[in-house]
């Protein structure tokens, strides 16, 4: 049938089973929004307050559901407003297709109104970018973009469609996703790939070698990274931990990759990792990292990281092998498949003495009671006690993020949604909106700091309009806490430009957006408000007052040896 470019785009989204899109209209994408109206019953569009909010929402949707997220924007400032969200998705390997329209072909390259080289801008922060200048190639390119976003190591793909393409017509045939590799350009790519790319089975010898190494090891240690989460390999990882009988540390991105309450987990690893995790890594003789890229927040000093150990790296992306840390053995493959095969071949091991040694060190930080103000652990404990166990937690970036990850337990992939690689302040609210849109029957909470929340609190209007029951908890210390912590410890208490002794009043702000705002300073008050919010199922902003000088403990300085804990 003959359709316009805009209609073809909509049909392609339906081929991909997309049910939610986050975006913001504008001049060049008008045709797409015009077509959207007739697809309203199948594709729900969320109009955000800002394109950045849309980008984080699509990302949160993708992370929480495992499906590909979609965001729309117009040209120029619309596209550039997406960029922070695109880079956030790229650093954390989240599958999102960002679709933007550009000026028509008679205007392109002439510095027209709202024109920018958006594919050029997106190039370094996406897996792939496409500019579509021919309506006949639209459908195939969109299909290809989705395939790339979700394949291998997932990640964002950017599509720029010229405005005239969205109005022009072409022949379109609906092809279900399962048949894509038999169709059109995709078939050509598939055939080429069959010739050019030798796609390996996971190497059986590599698996055997690792099984042997595990058998020889007396002090094995595991790291659960983001790849376990993206690969939805949590069941396999839980089995693996049990079979190897080894302590397992969890990275920030790995939260939810294994059962957070498991007796084998030592909690977070790295800069704010637990003593058990960091000492375990330092003392082990075999370190098996699954889907982890040894970032500078984990392998703080790559030279001395796990110096006594043979390091084994399991990852889907070959270019991560030996990038940050030199490894002794690697297996390239999907975490789920690799772990499944390992579990088949492994006989149960037992390391009681080693486990006792590692778990003689604390896996969690103890915080003293705060007197007049709440302390972070009290807030986390109160929340955890009252919300359902499968509650999705979206965070912003800073101290509150570390506290949340240290004290909440995540049991399944997609339960923790946080910007680990890019560290995007202002990520949380948009991400929570996306997570709630993708998981309407789950409770979604948003953990924020006052600094992060101020950045993108405009999305409260989205929460209100669509009746999204996100509960925001602001860990309000009236300062940029993490930066203040560094100033405190490293910059001789020279608190330059970090104190937030200014508005807004978050309670009044919530009310201005038509939401419920509450301020609490004790556990009892907090508990009461949480119960109320859970019952009402409405958007809430809960302003939790904490002390300005509260710190994230423990802490190891950047570039230091992993057990070189600062005295805080």
């Amino acid at each position: 049938m003959i359709l316009t470019g805009a209609e073809i785009l909509m049909e392609c989204l339906i081929e991909q089973e997309v049910d939610a899109v986050f975006g913001y209209p504008g001049g060049t994408i008008l045709n797409v929004y015009d077509a959207l109206v007739s697809y309203r019953d199948r594709i729900k569009h969320y109009l955000t307050a800002h394109e950045q909010g849309a980008s984080h929402a699509a990302d949160g949707y993708a992370r929480s559901t495992g499906k590909v997220g979609v965001a729309f924007s117009t040209s120029g400032p619309g596209a550039t407003n997406l960029t922070t969200g695109v880079a956030t998705a790229y650093m954390d390997s989240s599958p999102v297709v960002f679709i933007s329209c550009n000026v028509s072909d008679n205007l392109i390259g002439k510095d027209s109104f709202q024109e920018v080289d958006s594919t050029g801008i997106m190039l370094p922060i996406t897996k792939c970018t496409f500019q579509i200048t021919d309506v006949n190639r639209l459908a195939d390119t969109v299909r290809r973009a989705f395939a790339i976003a979700r394949s291998g190591r997932p990640g964002p793909v950017f599509i720029d469609i010229l405005k005239n393409v969205t109005a022009e017509t072409a022949e379109y045939e609906f092809i279900p996703r399962s048949e894509h590799k038999e169709a059109g350009v995709l078939k050509a790519i598939y055939d080429r790939n069959m010739v050019d790319y030798y796609v390996p089975e996971i190497d059986e010898e590599d698996i055997d070698k690792l099984v042997e190494m595990i058998g020889e090891s007396e002090r094995p240690m595991l790291i659960c990274g983001g790849g376990v989460v993206r690969g939805r390999a949590h069941k396999e990882f839980n089995d693996f931990v049990r079979l190897v009988d080894a302590p397992a540390a969890i990275t920030v991105m790995g939260g939810g990759g294994m059962n957070g309450r498991d007796s084998h987990t030592t909690g977070m690893i790295g800069m704010h990792g637990s003593q058990a995790s960091n000492i375990g890594v330092n003392e082990c003789d075999l370190l098996i990292a699954v889907g982890c890229r040894f970032s500078d927040r984990v392998a703080l000093d790559p030279e001395s990281f796990a110096a006594q150990a043979k390091i084994v790296h399991i990852d889907i992306d070959r270019s991560e092998i030996n990038k940050n840390v030199k490894t002794d053995h690697h297996i390239v493959g999907d975490a789920k498949e690799v772990l499944r095969r390992l579990n088949e071949k492994l006989s149960p091991q037992s390391h009681p003495e080693w486990m006792d040694f590692v778990f003689s060190h604390p896996t969690e930080t103890v915080y003293e009671d705060g007197g007049d103000t709440l302390n972070p652990k009290q807030i986390c404990d109160t929340i955890a006690k009252l919300v359902p166990e499968d509650t999705i937690v979206a965070t912003d970036v800073g101290q509150h993020q570390m506290w949340a990850i240290q004290h909440f337990h995540f049991d399944y992939p997609g339960q923790l949604i946080t910007s680990g690689g890019f560290g995007t302040m202002g990520f949380g609210l948009g991400a929570a909106i996306g997570a709630s849109a993708g998981n309407p029957d789950k409770t979604v909470i948003h953990i924020a700091g006052d600094g992060s929340f101020r950045m993108n609190c405009n999305e409260l209007s989205t929460v209100q309009y669509y009746g999204i029951p996100v509960i925001t908890f602001i860990f309000n210390n009236h300062t940029l806490g993490m930066v203040r912590q560094w100033q405190n410890l490293i910059y001789k208490k020279n608190f330059s430009e970090t104190t937030l002794d200014r508005g807004p009043d978050f309670v009044k702000l919530a009310e201005a957006y038509g939401l419920n705002g509450r301020r609490v300073s004790s556990q009892e008050e907090l508990a009461k408000v949480i119960e109320e919010a859970l019952e009402k199922k409405e958007g809430y902003v809960i302003d939790c007052l904490i002390d300005m000088d509260e710190m994230v403990r423990p802490m190891v300085g950047g570039g230091s040896h992993i057990t070189n804990f600062m005295k805080i």
């Binding site: 394949s151 590799k181 030798y198 889907i316 270019s319």
Partner: protein, 186 residues
């Protein structure tokens, strides 16, 4: 970029998709990592959808390995070969225009050109243009000699290279398979 002690010129050969934006994506990767591309030569191959690029870059071995790995990860990149000087052939084409105002000078230049097996590709009343094909050593040898005369202009293609013997850039190995993992997207 950290200072590299053992930096030397490295040659990489790539097969990439023949599509808009791919060359800039490749070039950007080098600039992002702080490397300056010394030479960059791109041209079509036996397969119209695929372009071959030869890149010369100054780097030490560990950093070159890292660069190759990052290149292999790019979606439009089919294969990357880090060429070994001992078993690869290098060729470059140069056109060089020199001033030759007198008959005596012209004769001197032609004689020297013959020694280098360079061709006279153009002549005017007061200039000569030579064409030469060869490896880096031969080309710079001719440039050094011509410095004795008055060089007006030089145009070089950048080096292209290929392995000796039956090895090709398309050879499959366990490693090349590992890099392609997940790129076969459908």
């Amino acid at each position: 970029m950290e200072a590299m002690k053992n930096a030397r010129s490295q040659t990489l050969a790539l097969l990439v998709d023949n599509e808009a934006g791919v060359l800039s994506q490749i070039a950007r990767l080098f600039s992002r990592k702080g490397y300056n591309i010394d030479a960059f030569a791109a041209g079509p191959t036996e397969n119209p959808g695929v372009t071959r690029i030869t890149i010369d870059v100054v780097a030490d071995e560990p950093h070159t390995e890292l660069l190759c790995n990052q290149l292999r990860k790019l979606y439009p990149v089919h294969s990357v070969k880090w060429l070994n000087t001992d078993n690869s052939l290098y060729r470059e084409l140069m056109l060089i225009k020199v001033r030759a105002e007198s008959g005596e000078r012209r004769n001197d230049i032609i004689q020297l050109a013959n020694i280098f097996r360079a061709n006279i590709v153009d002549v005017s009343i007061d200039t000569l243009t030579l064409g030469i094909t060869g490896d880096e050593e031969k080309i710079s040898g001719l440039i050094n000699i011509m410095k004795e005369f008055d060089i007006l202009e030089i145009a070089r293609t950048g080096v292209v290279a290929i392995e000796r013997g039956n090895a090709t850039i398309n050879d499959k190995s366990k490693e090349s398979g590992e890099f392609s993992y997940g790129k076969n997207v459908l």
